[in-house]
């Protein structure tokens, strides 16, 4: 797919058609829908500086009780795991507007894996299919 924001609808349609075909449980399908949207949005908005069209490759696979969502792009080197979470705000006044996309990905996926190779970012999200395994709590913190 191209790195144009208008492609996000295609991402959602593709992901949701896949989860329906593979009978992924509804709650997990929702988490994947959210995480895939956030990851791809992030790449499209921040991964490129030349204003051109780039290619982003997506892959979904289910195996051994795990669902893997892989994203590969040729944008700027970017390891999402290194992004610090926004500081929690105690009032609307001090709350920052943005920066929550990756925070949501951290909360709603079970594992993150990142690799930079051959000028490409390779980012994989893993979701555990075993019921009850995902607690909804933060399992990874950026340093």
């Amino acid at each position: 797919m191209s790195s144009n924001l208008s492609e996000l609808a295609r991402v959602a349609d593709w992901v949701n058609a896949w989860t329906q075909r593979h009978r992924v449980p509804a709650r997990l399908a929702e988490r994947l829908d959210l995480c895939s949207t956030e990851v791809v949005t992030n790449i499209m908005m921040y991964g490129y500086t030349d204003g051109g069209l780039h290619q982003i490759a997506l892959r979904l696979e289910q195996q051994d009780g795990r669902l893997a969502f892989e994203v590969q792009d040729d944008g700027l080197a970017f390891d999402p795991r290194q992004v610090a979470e926004p500081q929690p705000a105690t009032s609307l006044d001090e709350a920052t507007i943005g920066g929550r996309g990756l925070q949501l990905v951290r909360r709603f996926s079970d594992e993150w894996h990142y690799l930079r190779a051959d000028g490409r970012n390779n980012f994989t999200l893993i979701f555990h299919l075993v019921p009850g395994r995902h607690s909804g709590h933060d399992t990874r913190r950026a340093r």
């Binding site: 924001l5 208008s6 996000l8 609808a9 959602a12 709650r27 929702e30 988490r31 829908d33 959210l34 949207t37 956030e38 949005t41 929690p88 705000a89 105690t90 009032s91 609307l92 006044d93 709350a95 507007i97 943005g98 929550r100 996309g101 925070q103 949501l104 909360r107 709603f108 909804g136």
Partner: protein, 118 residues
């Protein structure tokens, strides 16, 4: 996304959103939301019952408008989120910034009370 508003008898504005609240959805409603929140003090309840999906761009829209409203002396509450949307609001820390209620009536009752510190 679709946008409908209803002026409730006590002057509270009910904003009824329908559809996915992602970057495309928020792009469609941002101008109307801004027109509502940037011009006058208002009490607004955002009815999320017909919103099956909320991403960070949607959270950005809610926060931007809640802040704009607060600057003019208005207040916002969110009502009736679907389960996943409610969880997203909680994990993004939004429920402590913009109050969330199970339904429109509860949200309106809260907005009618004088503002108090969280």
């Amino acid at each position: 996304m679709e946008w409908t508003t209803e002026l409730l008898p006590d002057g509270i504005e009910r904003v009824i959103l329908t559809g996915r609240m992602d970057s495309a959805g928020t792009e469609q409603i941002d101008p109307r939301f801004a027109a509502l929140t940037e011009t006058r003090p208002a009490l607004i309840v955002v009815d999320l019952a017909q919103v099956p999906f909320l991403a960070s761009m949607g959270i950005r829209t809610l926060l931007t408008n809640a802040k704009a409203l607060a600057l003019h002396g208005g207040r916002m509450a969110l009502a009736g989120p679907q389960p996943m949307v409610g969880t997203v609001l909680k994990h993004a820390g939004i429920d402590g910034l913009i109050p969330v209620y199970g339904d429109v009536d509860s949200a309106c009752a809260a907005l009618r009370r004088p503002a108090s510190r969280l």
